[in-house]
Symmetry: C2
Subunit: 177 residues, 2 copies
């Protein structure tokens, strides 16, 4: 298996197929190997089918090829510094302004969201900064509808944190009104 | 953005970057579009960096190319029927034997794990079938160490369900003793 081992996990929606893939990917790197973990969503995901793939290798994996992105969300300074070079000209950059203090000059629309601060102030935990960023993303772009993200949040987070996650999403959405 | 929109979410470990990508991928398909959502784990993941990518398209996305897999986990009959053609000869097939009743003849090592039944009997919920399958996978193959998966489970599941998830993993691991 010199070229890497490919593992596919398949099942029904609700069986935790995606979580199993995420766990496996995270475990692999703990063993000093490299992993790419992929979910495809499309026609087949609309029914009840779920699929997650993990490619495991002893070497860095160049597949899928790193491509330039249209939209970059950076939730830390080091993330921004690492990824800004891959943002396309005239792309959209969303940063958590509480975590990213130094912004380079870029040919991009830059949106500074107070995600960590709002999460701590209004939801009592910075763990909700991610859904605040998703809210801002949804408002700022046409890539996905508000309702679709709300439904996806509801099915993806533990029941106990659903209310706060949805509230965080709304905070992010309204932050760009 | 005729060729699809690429979104990269980046930040630190613990900020929910992967979850944000999963939510976005799931939201996109609710809008009738297609998405591929990817995490890469490797050198950069070993620090505290986290990255998740979502490619969004109006058309089915053929990237990353579907390739044949070395190991297939099928947690439902329809999943098996859909994916079995992609399993390499002499690959490893793990099925949840409570969900997969009809096995085709294949040139593969077939392992039938009582995942759903054990999850219900010993953990009071079939939602733990996924970690039971991961336990069996870990025992049956050399792709990842037991300890690494246990650590990855601990960092990936809600604190409240950690004990049952780890117990489920152990049940799956020991099922192939």
């Amino acid at each position: 298996m010199a070229r890497g081992t490919e593992v596919r996990i398949s099942g029904l929606g609700g069986q935790g197929v995606v979580l199993a893939g995420v766990i496996l990917g995270r475990a692999v790197v703990r063993n000093g190997k490299y992993a790419i973990q992929t979910q495809s969503y499309g026609a087949e995901a609309r029914g009840s089918a779920a699929k997650s793939e993990v490619i495991i290798s002893d070497e860095p994996i160049s597949f899928p090829k790193v491509r330039r992105c249209d939209i970059l969300i950076a939730m830390s300074q080091s993330a921004l510094d690492t990824h800004i070079k891959d943002l396309k000209e005239h792309g959209i950059l969303l940063v958590d302004r509480d975590m990213v203090k130094k912004l380079p000059k870029v040919q991009a629309t830059v949106l500074r969201i107070p995600a960590t601060k709002a999460a701590e102030a209004e939801l009592e935990s910075r763990m909700y900064a991610n859904v605040i960023m998703l809210g801002a993303l949804t408002r700022a772009t046409q890539i996905v509808s508000k309702e679709a993200v709300e439904e996806a949040i509801s099915e993806s987070v533990p029941a106990k944190t659903k209310g706060k996650n949805l509230k965080g999403f709304k905070i992010g959405y309204l932050s760009l009104k």
